[in-house]
Structures are given as C-alpha cells and as structure tokens.
Symmetry: C2
Subunit: 145 residues, 2 copies
C-alpha cells in the first residue's frame, strides 16, 4: 500500500504497524532515551532495535540529541509528532487493561503525576463532548474522481 | 516478550503490533466482513490475510459467523473485544490526519452518522474531564517483589 493512501489510519500504520516501534514509543514516554536502555527494557536484538529507531527518526517521531549528562551518548527524544502519539499509547494501554488481563490480575497503571489518580477511560466524542460509539459514526471516503 | 508482561501496552501490541492486523480491524469497523472484500480493500496476499484473520479470531477480536445473505460465505464480525478497539483506531486516524498529511491534502473523515459532523480530537483526560498531557502523567509499575 503506497504512502499516498487517503486513509489516515493506513498512513499512521505505515510507521506504527509494528510491535517494536510501538514499544519503543511507549518507553520514550516513560523517559527512556538511550539505546542501551531501550535494549534492556525490550530485550530485543541490537539490529532490530537499530532498525526501528532509525525508522522512528526518519519518520519524525524521535530525534537524536547530544546527551545532557556530558557523556558521549546520544539521546532519543520524542519530537512534537512523537509527543502527539500519547492518545495512541493510552488507547492501546486501556484496551490491553480491559481485554488482556484476567479480572484482578495486576498491571502497571497510568496516573496523574500530581495526585496519582488513574486517568479516565478515553473514548471518541462529539465536538460537544458526547461519547460516540463506532455504530454511531461513519467514514466519509474521498471521491475517487 | 512473554504474554505475561505486566504492561497493558505490551499485551495489546502482541496482537495489534502489525500493520495488516490494524488495517483489517479498520475495515471491519467500516463494514467489511468477507475474505474477498478484505483482500480487495487491502491488496494483500491471500496467505498473509488468512494468517492475520486467524490471529484476530484466535485473539478474540473477530468471530466467524454464517453469512446473513443465505450464501455459503462466512462473515468476520467484530466481537465485544473487537468493538472495544474503536478508540485505538480513532487515535491512529487522528494522529495520521495531523501528522501524515500535507496541509490541505484531502483524506477520509470520521463523522457522526446522523449529522455528518467530524468527531472531536480525542485526548486522555482526568476522571473530571480535564485534558492530561503526557508530561502530566506517569506510569506506576508493579512491585517486582
């Protein structure tokens, strides 16, 4: 499928339709910056990690910066486009919480930094804030002409 | 990475960290049910499509049903766990719209079925409805003990 798909989901998945890419983005939100720390977190082969980090840099989601600690290491940091993936990571997390754990089985939790309260379940809404179910929505495709 | 990861994002990506899986789920929300219609929409090889459909059925996201039109075809339909992926698909779509199209470039749009109004941009929120940025959140990991 070419990059010129008129479907925003298709274009997003060009980069994001990969398990390691998604887990690297998750780790970046958790404050992981160094190659060796991604490797330790993910337990992934170096060549695969290198490839996925390169895709994320080429795709404008991560940027390379000199380390702030005075060492020679370079840091991977989320760009603005990368930070904009927060809703994607939260949606994956909340689906995983609801659908991929047994009742009562423990999992990590996403909370407000200040008070430790769990975030609300995120759902599509109208401009006025009413929840929209899939059945109450439709996709308007582009005119093929 | 074992299925026993305590991270809900990791468990979600076990199934969802794949481009074809995500596009099949997108098509299922758009009302695609038949193998041949998925194939036409995605332009993917039959063996890959078979594999991904099987993963989605095994993963409890799609279910096989006899066709309602009296033919011998079986239909793939979203289960409850599959329908719960709506926020994931919307998050991917909205990121794609914002980050993967040139300004003014046309794309398909997700609207309310009744009145054709575009949905709001979906963001993580507190229980009280205030938007939460990534920097204002943190992940509480499980005690390794």
């Amino acid at each position: 499928m070419p990059f010129s798909s008129p479907c925003p989901v298709a274009r997003a998945t060009e980069l994001l339709g990969d398990r390691w890419v998604l887990l690297i983005v998750r780790d970046a939100f958790d404050g992981v910056h160094r190659f060796s720390d991604f490797q330790r977190s993910l337990g992934v082969a170096r060549n695969i990690l290198s490839d996925r980090l390169r895709r994320l840099v080429d795709g404008g989601v991560l940027a390379l910066q000199p380390a702030t600690d005075g060492t020679a290491y370079q840091h991977y940091v989320l760009t603005e486009a990368g930070t904009a993936l927060f809703p994607v990571v939260v949606a994956l997390r909340q689906w995983g919480e609801a659908q991929r754990f047994a009742p009562g089985e423990a999992h990590s939790r996403l909370v407000e930094r200040g008070n430790g309260r769990e975030l609300a379940y995120m759902q599509p809404r109208t401009q006025r804030g009413r929840v929209v179910q899939a059945a109450d929505s439709r996709v308007v495709k582009l005119d093929p002409g």
